[in-house]
């Protein structure tokens, strides 16, 4: 039992570290390391986008982009463990890749698995190089947890498909050149069977992107509307009616982004509790009143950290990450909300303040308080994650499916 690299891993780490040390945009370090958890996704203002593209291009040119992709499509053919090591070494600069993460982590692998060779050669290298940004258009207003309930219609017209409908929660749609799009091509069959996947040029006529203002006052996502959008049949990924299977490729690759563990916020709390004064002199951390909760959260944060170490160990032995990794988001999501709530209470009436210049600990807890409800929902609600753990890890039965084998168009849409 140890945390040491194998000699091969150590050599790879050294190589990565030295390249990063020589090439990273160090002038961005203060911004990137100060961004705090829960906000890193929101740094993509214009300058940051340019910086992100520049760093991605530099990595691409030196063979450090999309490490796990085959070399012919712009990757390095690296092992999953090498990818993890790279991520560890890239550190704060990895935040610059958030813009590309959906394209490189989900859309690219889908195109790689299901696209024509011509598409792959044309589309993948610019994606790896950060020249193109991609988005993933699956969710709809009426199809969230029940993704296969989506209603965006694709109707065949000669060699083209005509798309009408809308998507929601599309990260980066406003800055994307391409996207993958899951549509319903046959509403007369059971819901999972009538879906078809395409890739689309986001600059096509018939696409309108509108940002969604979220509860915390920021816009991380978009709605995308399709009005008679025409897509050539050659942009189909997989067979007609095979869209659900294709989408599983996309979603399974989401799971591979292991090691990018979410934070519970406990380190921030401990940092605060060690620095902030208690009510009667001494440090906040010495107040017995908060001990039990600190201890509980400490074990959760530590448990997630070492669970991810165990997953990495499995990965280094060649095992694939499984559904048990759902616990990361489940635990971190709920815990970060609890911690934020607790921390603002410790600030008394000043806990309401949100200006980093005025609020305690630079308003980090207030930012998390306002952002955290989304964490328990996005990318799989707590309830869906518990279902996944119960069904796929523990082998318990699925929920009763009243819509099973029912033609999609007969599934009730109102109570």
């Amino acid at each position: 039992m140890n945390f040491d690299d194998t000699p091969e891993e150590a050599a790879f780490r050294a190589e990565a570290r030295s390249w990063i040390d020589a090439n990273a945009p160090k002038h961005l370090h203060p911004i990137l390391s100060g961004s705090g958890h829960g906000t890193a996704g929101d740094i993509a203002d214009v300058d940051m986008l340019a910086e992100s593209k520049a760093w991605q291009k530099k990595k691409y040119d030196a063979g450090w982009a999309c490490l796990h992709w085959p070399k012919e499509y712009g990757g390095r053919g690296a092992t999953p463990m090498q990818r993890v090591i790279w991520n560890q070494e890239e550190g704060v600069y990895a935040q610059l890749s958030f813009t590309f993460i959906i394209g490189q982590g989900m859309c690219g692998p889908t195109v790689m698995a299901w696209g024509s060779e011509q598409d792959k050669q044309a589309l993948l290298p610019p994606l790896a190089a950060g020249e193109d940004i991609w988005c993933q258009m699956f969710s709809e207003p009426s199809a969230g947890s029940d993704l296969a309930g989506l209603r965006t219609r694709a109707v065949k017209d000669g060699d083209e498909w005509v798309i009408n409908g809308s998507k929601i929660w599309t990260s980066g749609a406003h800055i994307s050149q391409y996207g993958i799009l899951l549509t319903r091509t046959d509403p007369s069959v059971a819901k999972h069977k009538g879906l078809t996947m395409f890739w689309v040029d986001m600059r096509s006529p018939g696409i309108e992107v509108r940002p969604i203002l979220q509860a915390h006052g920021q816009s991380g996502f978009n709605e995308v509307f399709f009005t008679d959008l025409r897509i050539p049949d050659s942009q189909r990924l997989g067979g007609v009616g095979q869209g659900w299977t294709v989408s599983l490729t996309t979603l399974m690759n989401e799971r591979l982004s292991i090691g990018s563990g979410m934070s519970t916020g406990f380190e921030t709390l401990l940092d605060y509790a060690v620095r902030a004064p208690g009510r009667d002199g001494g440090r906040l951390v010495d107040d017995p009143a908060i001990r039990s909760r600190l201890a509980d959260w400490a074990t959760k944060a530590s448990g997630l950290k070492y669970t991810s170490m165990r997953a990495l160990t499995a990965l280094s032995k060649g095992q694939e990450p499984g559904p048990e990794n759902s616990i990361g988001k489940l635990v971190a999501g709920a815990t970060s909300q609890e911690i934020a709530t607790f921390a603002i209470d410790l600030q008394g009436e000043t806990g309401v303040l949100t200006d980093p210049a005025q609020a305690a600990h630079a308003a980090r807890f207030q930012a998390t308080l306002m952002r955290s409800p989304a964490t328990r929902i996005e990318g799989g609600t707590d309830e869906i994650l518990r279902n996944i753990i119960a069904e796929r890890v523990l082998g318990l039965p699925g929920d009763v499916r009243v819509d099973k084998d029912v033609p999609f168009e007969k599934i009730p849409t109102r109570a």
Binding site: G144, I212, A215, G217, V352, R386, D403
Partner: protein
């Protein structure tokens, strides 16, 4: 046993609900959230309904009714998450002046507060969790100096009740805010529908409110009473958040059925109902103690406060969860309740302070709780 509001009080509540449903929709709350500032016309409407003077004697322009009527109306203000300074002006400032003010102070301010012509506020914290020992503002020979922050509704108030050191004692001080020597600066908070400000006093003219050295004790009395009233705001908000979640669970379909038919959602809503119900019962206990002037008030107030704080937070948080992604959009109202739940949890001092008060009071009473 009549451990409930009576018919008359319930009618009064209905009146408030009708008024607020018509005049204080969440669209109107949003205006405050989105920078529309203080909704003075709504405030005037509320004043004209008499809601600001419910517990103010008729001789001072109020309705001269009891605290139960005020509790009932507070619940409706909570349901409506009204973007109004009722907590500061009615539950705190008016109560302070009524309880500790001289006849002159009462006749100067109470009629104005009842009429909505003046807004009061309480200025106690100085930028950290308040204790008896970290008050730095000073009051000497009628002159107040120091900085109070955050002051709820301090951005719009006309008069403040300020906790300050008078020599080595703590006193409450009544300060007209429309004078030189008072400056204010608005603060960004998690709930912009109830504004907060930093108030700075530079040798501002003030009058002592109540006895010298009684400031801390009187503040506790005020906070206990206000805690009961705020608990009603909180249970009103909790109930509405629960109802929103329930309605959405009935309406939203997934996997071919109402999401409310999934036990994960059903049981989440059942748990919300449980905490809202316990909080309501505890709030009634507080209302009984407040309205009868019972010796149990400190204990009942702390019980109501802790219970209602937890319930409103729980319901507001899980209402978002029931709504899924839609619940976290700006356009849906869920976040208005989440913001208010957290704002009210921090007003009057936060949960750890009230937990401490509750346990100390229970231990002092050393009387088993359950009959």
């Amino acid at each position: 046993m009549q451990f409930d509001f009576n018919e008359q009080q319930n009618e009064f509540r209905q009146e408030a609900r009708r008024f607020l449903t018509a005049e204080c929709s969440t669209d109107r709350v949003r205006k405050a959230l989105e920078g529309g500032g203080f909704d003075r016309s709504l405030w005037q409407g509320v004043a004209e309904m008499g809601f600001l003077g419910i517990a103010i004697p008729e001789e001072h322009g109020g309705l001269g009714l009891g605290y139960l009527e005020l509790c009932a109306v507070a619940e409706e203000f909570g349901r409506a998450i009204a973007p109004l300074p009722i907590l500061s002006s009615v539950y705190l400032a008016a109560e302070a002046i009524k309880s500790f003010g001289t006849a002159e102070q009462q006749s100067e301010w109470l009629p104005k507060i009842a009429a909505g012509a003046a807004i009061g506020c309480l200025a106690s914290s100085e930028g950290e969790r308040l204790t008896e020992r970290n008050v730095r503002a000073t009051f000497n020979n009628g002159a107040l100096s120091g900085t109070k922050a955050p002051v709820l509704d301090g951005d719009i108030a006309d008069v403040a009740i300020v906790l300050a050191k008078e020599g080595d004692a703590l006193s409450l001080v009544l300060v007209d805010l429309s004078q030189e020597g008072v400056t204010r600066q608005s603060l960004d908070t998690i709930d912009p529908t109830r504004g907060q400000a930093t108030l700075t006093f530079d040798n501002a003219a003030g009058e002592r409110l109540g006895e010298r050295g009684e400031g801390w004790a009187n503040l506790q009395t005020l906070l206990d009473r206000a805690a009961v009233l705020v608990a009603f705001e909180q249970i009103g908000g909790a109930d509405r958040a629960l109802e929103m979640g329930r309605d959405y669970a009935l309406e939203r379909m997934a996997f071919g059925r109402q999401i409310g038919s999934f036990q994960a959602i059903k049981h989440m809503l059942a748990d919300m109902y449980v905490s809202a119900t316990l909080a309501r019962s505890n709030a009634y206990y507080g209302a009984w103690a407040l309205s009868t002037g019972a010796a149990e008030l400190p204990r009942a107030a702390a019980t109501a406060r802790v219970s209602a704080t937890n319930a409103f937070r729980h319901c507001a948080k899980n209402n978002i969860q029931v709504h899924g992604g839609m619940g976290f959009t700006w356009q849906m109202d869920c976040h208005l309740f989440y913001r208010r739940a957290n704002q009210l949890a921090l007003a009057l001092g936060s949960l750890p302070d009230w937990e401490e008060k509750l346990v100390n009071r229970l231990a002092a009473a050393n009387e088993p709780l359950a009959a």
